[in-house]
């Protein structure tokens, strides 16, 4: 039997206005979005947390239902709800699986915005969140300062001493310590404001989006990206006043912070016209491409709709570096490298930006390189932004399976497309002693260039 007709959007608004929604006005999951879920269940087996525990509450369908129930006042926005939403990796594999076009990423970010507004987390957790999302990530000077302190810790021998003791294991931090990025000797900040000329005939002029933490931990990758772009005929401009993209804040539900950062970036990249705004971080790219969503909801009274339009305009120009190079076509000469590699899909490239072929095409374009697919390459490695720090046990379980699959290919190199994934996979290679090297797609391309 069919059910009663579901409510129209307006009716739903009216009906739910009468019941007590567990959500407050502003950034919240909307009926028009969550009612798209026809609870068919086709997403279940794609969801890493469902695959681990097989509980509806930790499945996409169950999470969407919980949002609906809270919105309809049938479920409290309580600890249980928060736990299930926290445990979501925001990997968006469910979006790829969904035939009904549910925009899960948007829904979960809005649910998290509600949690941030309406749920009181324990005091330390609040303090840390406040520090990380509101202070650290919003200000490059903070990032540099902390990075310098950490660099001192890592290079002075202090870290070696700490690791030599069993302190980390005692406080349950030994795995997290593996995940800690190595701080660069030289930061990328010094490249801000510079322009790097195209090699040979100029085929395009692009703006490079450098990221926030990547500027102190992935300088090599950023430099490699610029080199590869140059070698393929791109003039690369690194706009000076760029900030963190806001992805981490948005994923954590701190949407006002994300909006503020978005405004700054829109300004920094709008001074000149570029053929594209290029990033090598799939996580950033996915957010940069969805800036308009940030401004579609939760706009305050006095704010105009201009931001949303400007954001849409900005997003149209954003390209992941693999997408951009694959569309442009490689023109640089590359040497032959006899290598076997396997590719791990970065969730925010594959599921967030729906880009599957571009990185593979680039890898295959390198003479001599053989790409061996690993089973379940499209499954999250457990990195998921800050997930490996906030939900370490789950993250490590996913990583274990990932490393098993990566190892089964026999490839000595794992290639991926996002700095966060690289950190996680490197930690995995170490923890599970697979002996594999982890590289970004552009780093592999860069290797083929350098000795050409």
């Amino acid at each position: 039997m069919p059910g009663l007709p579901p409510l129209t959007h307006e009716e739903a608004q009216r009906e739910f206005a009468e019941t007590l929604s567990g959500f407050t006005a502003g950034d919240k999951p909307e009926y028009a979005d969550y009612s798209r879920c026809i609870h068919c269940g086709l997403c279940l087996n794609a969801c890493p947390t469902y695959r681990l525990w097989h509980n509806e509450a930790d499945s996409p369908r169950g999470r969407i239902r919980q949002m609906a129930l809270v919105d309809q006042g049938r479920l409290e926005l309580n600890e249980a709800f928060v736990t299930h939403i926290d445990r979501c990796l925001d990997c968006r594999a469910c979006e790829t699986a969904c035939p009904s076009g549910v925009e899960y990423g948007k829904l979960v970010e809005l649910a998290r915005a509600q949690i941030a507004k309406n749920f009181k987390r324990p005091r330390t957790s609040r303090w840390i969140r406040n520090f990380v999302y509101r202070r650290l990530l919003t200000d490059p000077r903070h990032i540099a300062r902390i990075a310098r302190a950490m660099r001192f810790y890592q290079r002075s021998g202090l870290e070696a001493i700490v690791r030599g003791t069993r302190i980390l294991r005692l406080i349950g931090m030994s795995k997290r310590a593996e995940l800690m990025p190595r701080i660069d000797r030289e930061f990328f900040f010094s490249r801000l404001g510079k322009t790097f000329p195209a090699q040979g005939e100029r085929r395009a002029r692009v703006a490079f989006f450098a990221g926030c933490l990547a500027q102190v931990t992935f300088t090599q990758l950023n430099d490699a990206t610029i080199r590869v772009l140059q070698a393929n005929g791109c003039e690369v401009v690194v706009p000076a006043d760029q900030f963190c993209c806001g992805a981490l804040a948005a994923h954590a539900g701190e949407r006002d912070v994300a909006r503020e950062l978005a405004r700054k970036n829109m300004k920094a990249f709008s001074a000149e016209a570029f053929d594209a705004i290029v990033t090598n971080a799939a996580g950033c790219g996915s957010t940069l491409k969805e800036y308009a969503q940030l401004f579609a909801t939760g706009r305050e009274e006095n704010e105009s709709t201009d931001d949303a339009e400007r954001a849409a305009e900005f997003s149209r120009g954003v390209r992941d570096v693999t997408e951009f190079l694959s569309d442009l076509g490689l023109s640089a000469r590359m040497r032959e490298m006899k290598l076997r590699v396997t590719y791990q899909d970065s969730c925010h490239l594959l599921h967030g930006q729906k880009i599957r072929e571009a990185p593979r095409k680039l890898i295959r374009a390198i003479p001599g390189v053989e790409l061996v697919e690993m089973p379940l390459a499209e499954q999250c490695c457990g990195s998921a932004g800050v997930y490996n720090v906030t939900e370490t046990a789950t993250s490590m379980e996913l990583l274990k399976e990932k490393m098993r699959n990566a190892k089964s290919t026999g490839a000595p190199i794992i290639v991926t497309a996002n700095p966060g994934c690289m950190l996680q996979l490197r930690a995995g290679a170490k923890l599970h002693a697979t002996g594999q090297d982890v590289l970004h797609v552009v780093e592999l391309l860069d290797r083929a260039l350098t000795n050409a």
């Binding site: 007709p5 579901p6 009906e15 798209r36 087996n45 076009g101």
Partner: protein, 485 residues
Amino acid sequence: MDHHLLHELEHLLGHDGVLSRPEDLLLYEYDGSVEIARPQCVVFPAKTADVVRIVELSNRYKTPIVGRGAGTGLSGGALAREGGIVVSFARMNRILEIDIENHRAVVQPGVVNADLSLAVAHAGLHFAPDPSSQRACTIGGNVSENAGGPHTLAYGVTTNHVLGLEMVMPTGELVRIGGKAADAPGYDLCGLFVGSEGTLALVTEVTVRLTRLPEAVKTLLAVYDRVDDATETVVEITARGITPAACEMLDGWTLRAVEAWVHAGFPLDSAAVLLIEVDGLREAAEEHAAQIAEVCRLHGAREVRVACDEKERDLLWKGRKNAFGAVGRLSPTYYVQDGVIPRTKLPETLREIDRIGKENGFEIGNIFHAGDGNLHPIILFDARDSKQFQRAVSTAEEIIRFCIKMGGAITGEHGVGMEKDRLMPFLFSEADIALMKRVRDEFNPAGLLNPGKIFPTGKGCGEVRVRSQRNGAETDSTHEESSPA
């Protein structure tokens, strides 16, 4: 629910293996259908012995018990219509044995259909039943619903691929029927249990036949300007004695919905497309593909396209397999029917569906396994008009009744469940139903296993129970309908 029972279940399965908080139970009140019913607890057995104990407890506490796989069912089969315990088999998901040489596999019921095929693909094998939900639904669910799929035409339904079952009977004993041998001695009981919609036993292990992946596959897309031409093509293909591996039809309205999402290259201005696949040895497949293409053209196909590579083939199938979801993008308020007719009656039936739709003022999209005559008409209705909704219900019924008149049935593959129980009397005489009930009562004497399914409940036939799918809002209503003819 009796807290002693809950306590015993937790003792057996650990806290991790039992859900009983209201917020968790709310997430087991639905499946893929539009029905709603909430259990009092959900349990996750890890092994067969757990299931035996759970069934014993259900008997001791006289509490209903319902099996659940992935909950993709389309007839409310996995819902606890009368409350009680839902037994989720999702964690019993190990492939126990793969016997490549003899083309057999032994699996736990929670193994996902597509995962089994993936696990044996390296040996050139697959599990042939391929419901459109295959990447999520479980083998246990397939067994219970006797699931089919697009390739049912050539390969048969689930029952043709199940050789043995280990089951826990509602009375608590553990039994094994069939086995690896193709034709086990004694009664062929597998056939009885496969398709019993979880009302006769809980399945704890399944021995299945694996099928060799065909050497060659040819996928054709035939495009038509008239629906009649498409349906007549289907009739003629079978008349010529060619059995395609699959033969699916999407009408113009549906393919436009699908195309908007998948971009499979379905021409937007056509009235219908046929997606036909032949497989087998290379020469035979090519020969059949050529013959089919000829039949298509003969019957007015304006274009016949052959997928030139694996990628194009996948894309065409993606369009088909995600069709329901794609319709969901247009409006979550649609109703999928699941009727069956002899395929020679296809042109006539489609014309009638069209007529019934027009008469009632509905747009009806049609997707179906045309080769088997298994129709899935989709009725879209305007959610804001409650009269129209009532009309959608009676329209659906009119269609199903026409199917029965054509010599067909009320469900092809989605099962009766709690959705179509009241339609059973249209198809079966009282004596027929009484016989089926005797079978059920023989195995499930106390009626504790999956009660309230398949057979019409006590309510008068003209009375229909309707539940809301407002994402779970609880509104039950009862409304009158014209009694069946």
